[in-house]
Assembly symmetry: C2
Homo-oligomer: 316 residues x 2
């Protein structure tokens, strides 16, 4: 391993594989993105196990020496039942120390070992699961090690995750399928038929969507969705505005759900992490309707989390 | 026209064309279903106008004589901007008499005239539209001509419509995109990936979906949807149960929206009309959680409505 390299870390999801070579201060020295998520592995003659190996060695090419022991850490769907080796979910509430004590190891060669971070789960009548987001959460918590109270962490995306943390542990979390529902509605319902892509974000249309969700909170999403069409028919919305209106509508409904549950009666600080353009939409929607909670944004939460978990697990 | 025939009536929608030959007492003597909805017209050399004529004459083949004047009535998307001739929406509240006075005529030949029933609309910041369902509504109202108070009419389907009526007029209505959202989620999201078709309706799974919606009403649909997946992962739901669970979840959320708006503080009788299997799902969900409102079911609402509107318009 290059002398500068302190840790190799993988963020291995369903559709992509990101590999990081990190230096002494957790700083990324090199970053690679490969299209080999666990559902899109390279195809060859060796079966699934061989495909994982092939993707792994491609991601780490030139980063491994044959004379050194290598500890590599990974988070995401690689630890699922469809992954390389299943890392069983940890039940919430759980802390960084508990998580770091439950890594699931794969011996890739006599000198190379992969440690997979487990996901988190809540059981009972309304079960919840996450894989990968737990690493982002502990990354964010480590950025403010003196925090003593509650913290809410929002991770918008295909499946948005919202977690409530207490000091260094995750108490509860909720999933909203907002991103995936948006894509399905846009590509496979009458709402998308008339839509035209816009040159840039139409914030007025987005705000109108948020406002409709708030005004019609009681009628609910299944009904307010149809306004994406009727407002076009009524000349209140153009075909170019429909995509951002629908985006605002869905994010507005997600906010309503959060306000009635996780955010209820709390003035807990919120940190968003993920795609910065998407986070900007959430920040705007929350500031438009959400009151006075401070909202900040954090980049690099995954890398920081991978580092912190490796550190706590004694891999560094 | 055959001596027995009193009225030819068409229910001409987006994907299909139903033609009815009705006798003296509005009874259907003959019924045809053709695949020529306005978005699936027969293709030929004559353009769209010719395609409408071709579909029309196929639907009425053998029912028209050349020596008689024929008045034919039609409802549905045939009166939309993409239809044969646009029948402008009537604004609610509106009555049977007002509707029958606004039919939109197409002179098909010197002896054949088509009268298209307009749809209904609500304007303002939350616009609503319907086409075809207004005919079902007036069909149901005419079945109980002595009704003096409020009546709620539910028309489950791709886009469920719920109307509030007062005596013989429609006061307001709401659309829920439940059927189309179900199809999009099932065919184009992770929820559908694991689903297996069931041999018959799994009412326990359906009831569980309704119960989840009720229990998690505040979190909202975007979040509860994910339980279709997590309950599978947790072993609480099988792949065969997932479709009915999701169906119950969506109908449950539709009910929550109605209970907070149209049904709020009302003990108005409810009549359902449409696909009987789908109506049975709604009836079950509403009885499970909805309290004490009487719920009845009406078949043939469209045919009765076409007849009543033709009668009021003086076409009979």
């Amino acid at each position: 391993m290059d002398k500068q390299t302190r840790l190799l870390a993988l963020d291995w999801g369903t559709t992509s594989l990101r590999a990081y070579r990190l230096g002494d201060q957790a700083q990324p020295l090199e970053c690679r993105e490969l299209p080999w998520g666990i559902m899109k592995l390279p195809t060859g003659n060796g079966g699934r196990e061989e495909a994982f190996r092939q993707a792994f060695f491609a991601a780490c090419e030139g980063w491994l020496s044959t004379t050194t022991r290598h500890e590599i850490i990974a988070c995401g769907m690689i630890g699922s039942a469809q992954g390389w080796k299943e890392a069983a979910y940890l039940h919430c509430p759980t802390s960084l120390t508990e998580l770091a004590g439950q890594l699931c190891q794969v011996a890739i060669s006599p000198t190379v070992r992969l440690s997979i971070i487990p996901g988190l789960a809540i059981y009972g009548s309304d079960p919840e699961v996450m894989r990968g987001e737990e690493t982002q959460i502990f990354g964010i918590l480590s950025e403010d090690p003196n925090a003593t109270g509650e913290h809410i962490i929002g991770m918008p995306g295909t499946h948005s995750k919202w977690a409530l943390t207490q000091r260094d542990s995750v108490s509860e979390f909720h999933t909203f399928m907002t991103g995936e529902v948006y894509e399905a509605l846009r590509s496979h319902t009458i709402l998308g038929v008339t839509m035209q892509p816009a040159q840039e974000t139409d914030w007025q249309a987005f705000d109108d969507g948020v406002a409709t969700a708030m005004r019609q909170a009681d009628t609910g999403l299944l009904s307010t969705l149809f306004s994406t069409r009727t407002r076009l028919l009524a000349g209140q919305l153009s075909a170019q505005q429909q995509p951002d209106y629908l985006s605002g509508l869905l994010i507005g409904h997600e906010f309503i759900g959060l306000r009635r549950t996780l955010l209820a009666k709390r003035q807990t600080p919120i940190t968003l992490t993920g795609n910065p353009l998407l986070c900007a939409r959430y920040q705007r929607a929350f500031q438009q309707v959400g009151g006075t909670q401070p909202i900040s944004y954090s980049a690099q939460a995954t890398v920081t989390g991978l580092w912190q978990i490796a550190l706590r697990a004694g891999l560094l």
